[in-house]
Symmetry: C2
Subunit: 456 residues, 2 copies
């Protein structure tokens, strides 16, 4: 029996080639024009699970994009690990800001540049390759199930139904997800909290048509100006979110918890240099780690209205729009927050415009325990691979489905992520380190081994 | 000798066919991709001037789009009328809001729907056809010169140089321009004031790349949010423009002048119904006619930033932009106002973003006299055609070149416009009444006749 490090070393090039094939499929879930590619990607994932040795592999249709399922049950007496991941990716726009094409993976300085390299293709595929190793070397320590979905980037709209309809098939002892970041290669970490999400689109309508700004300007409300005023009012002068009731359910951390959180290595000067900013911004009374980890936020993800082409057009637009998302923390509820936003936004709109708030999708915040068998197994596995004990962190991202897993399946999740914050997730030039990918593959069998041992 | 009404009746279909050919040429000056069409349009105009009987017709090159010149000097002792117009048009975006294609003129309910039908192809072409009549019927009462340019919609950037280099060729006694509106077909009017223009583009830059809004949101300033705050601050709670010094040079009208201005027929309920708005908006202390006629304004013509495609993308954008224009009144100066805007906008930008203000183009406000021979000739001509004496109005639009004509050529302008405010200038479904077009052609020879008579 080959050990995992040797196996990874021997199969390195093939592991990369397979991931590159996966990254070449533009499985953008937000844009219907990629529908065909999304389906091809699901088939690709299913095929790779079969080749690795999974049983009962199925591309399960949903009302949206399919979910790929596969399993290997070696002994009903052993614990079962359910691996969740997503094969869909964020849109790659703006394409012109990519140094190399988003769907043609390119290696530079040991990093794989491609949309989805870190989020989440490069990360869930580590589990497929680790599984291959465990099968081929008779090293499976737990039963294993895979559930790889295709709608994570659009709010996992159909996964809830699938989970509810398949509680028997998805029966397990723990869920493992690799879709988060570590502090650095020198300091591994485990995320223990995920924020929830409420995503809305707003439309402000003024006159029933675009108008000549000379003939009507100054006498008819300009929806772009009014939208700007409405957005400006959503944060107060301390950058608190000015929606009545928004903070009502927020769990405040104890002084001790905040102290522990702020002990994670963080260099504000490096942070500013990396982002090219002269100064940071954020809610008064909180540090940067707190602002992104334990506080809810409200961000404009997109805004548009009027003439946005070359040159000048003197138009008073009929409509202006924005996409706005809020990250939520325990115990905020995404439905309640979406409702509060809608009510507030409609209430502050003046009568010379009409506003419409359309909810996109949401997800609930979650905190994962650090005293569980799964957490301890992950801690031990990372310690073995990196030689350093990982520390718990609170990440700012959202994997809305984690709360649902807990509710419907009664399962806790361990967030065994190998990415880095600098991976440009959701941005041009997304990347994932080859070393991160290979060390992830090496770590996963250890997690399974320790999880089985500690569960005894 | 046929009288003008008979001539128009006899040639009506040909007049429309020729205008339609002109409207089919997409001479959009703001977008470089229409460069070839712009040049074709200049050639078309030159050819039609030649066919109508003009001498010395020339498509004069400039650093930008060409200017078409033509003339007919019958007697140096007679007064000379210089006709100005523009063959370029506004962009037609958003195309999807047009009921019929913008460059395929279509008649519905007696209106010609096409980009440029009213602004300004349909209006300057009336002068070409009126000229044809006067030539064919030996009815020229004045010498006539034509100067039809191709950059009015982008600030007439090269016309100034042309005018300065051609003061001898452009020598005249008065300038006539048909590029404005009348109150209605039942109540003709003559515009006696045009607003100036200062047009800028602003860019707000936050981080050096698009960021994941979960990982960085709440801790790094979002340029879309900051742009919204900056735009929101440009009008105070009374909708006064909050740029220090902005109103310093504004000439306030006397109570009497304001009273006269407000006597123009105006029905606020009709106005709201036409625009589909529940309420009007504007600077406190002024009526709608004053807001669009004698007060300066600031409008957002376009705004964009972040993800504006289908679906949801959780991005914290690197940049957000806006196009902003200000309409100016006597005695504001566009260069000074652009400078004030730039200085103010830069001064209010917080240090966690960078802002850049790029001036687009400008033009000076102008007031035309109502006691001149030209005004009286126009008044008489309109009275003859419509059977009602026209009233003077102050329009909100800008023809920046009018101030330049006065400065360089020492010439006053008469604004003999036949459009209507409801013509959807700069908007989808721009239109121009067939009746407006034909009555305009009928009125112009009368203007020349009365101008010659009153000049004696």
């Amino acid at each position: 029996m080959q050990n995992i490090k040797e196996y990874v070393e021997a199969n390195k090039q093939r592991f990369l080639d397979e991931l590159f094939d996966l990254l070449r499929l533009p499985s953008v879930s937000a844009d219907p024009k990629f529908k065909g590619d999304v389906e091809k990607t699901a088939e690709f994932v299913a095929q790779k699970l079969r080749e690795a040795g999974a049983d009962n592999v199925e591309v399960c249709p949903t009302a949206g994009n399919p979910i790929v399922y596969g399993e290997k049950i070696i002994d009903p007496a052993l614990p079962t690990v359910l691996t969740y991941g997503h094969y869909d990716v964020q849109p790659a726009d703006p394409y012109e800001l990519w140094d190399t094409p988003p769907f043609e993976p390119t290696v530079r300085d040991g990093k794989i540049y491609a949309r989805g390299s870190a989020d989440d293709k490069g990360q869930f595929y580590m589990h497929v390759k680790a599984f291959e190793y465990m099968i081929k070397n008779d090293a499976l320590a737990c039963n294993i199930k895979f559930m790889i979905e295709g709608e994570e980037e659009v709010g996992s709209v159909n996964l809830g139904t699938f989970v509810k309809e398949n509680t028997e098939r998805l029966k397990a002892d723990v869920i493992v997800i690799s879709d988060t970041s570590m502090i650095s290669m020198a300091q591994p970490s485990l995320e223990t909290g995920l924020r929830g999400l409420s995503y809305v689109e707003v439309e402000v309508t003024g006159p029933n048509r675009d108008l000549h700004s000379g003939v009507y300007g100054g006498a008819v409300a300009n929806p772009a100006t009014i939208l700007a005023k409405l957005i400006a009012s959503l944060h107060d002068e301390n950058n608190h979110i000015a929606i009545p009731g928004f903070y009502d359910d927020v769990v405040e951390l104890t002084a001790e918890e905040r102290k522990a959180l702020n002990e994670a290595p963080f260099d504000i000067e490096e942070y500013k240099t990396d982002l090219g900013i002269q100064n940071i911004w954020g809610e008064k009374g909180f540090t940067t780690l707190e602002r992104t980890g334990i506080r809810p936020t409200l961000e404009v993800n997109g805004i548009w209205g009027g003439y946005i082409g070359e040159g000048a057009k003197t138009v008073l637009p009929s409509k202006a729009n924005a996409k706005i998302s809020m990250r939520l923390v325990p115990n905020q509820n995404s439905h309640r927050i979406t409702e509060l936003f809608k009510k507030h936004f409609e209430s502050i709109a003046p009568d010379y415009v009409k506003v419409e708030v359309k909810p996109h999708h949401g997800g609930e915040p979650v905190v994962t325990p650090t005293d569980s068998v799964a957490y301890k197994a992950a801690e031990k596995a990372l310690h073995d691979t990196f030689g350093v004990k990982p520390i718990p962190t609170r990440g700012g991202g959202s994997i809305p489905i984690v709360a649902l897993f807990e509710e419907v399946l009664g399962l806790k999740t361990v967030l065994l992520g190998f990415g880095l914050d600098s991976d440009n997730l959701h941005s041009p030039n997304e990347k994932y380190g080859i070393e991160n990918y290979l060390m992830g593959i090496s770590t996963i069998p250890l997690f399974h081994k320790y999880y089985a041992e500690l569960s005894k």
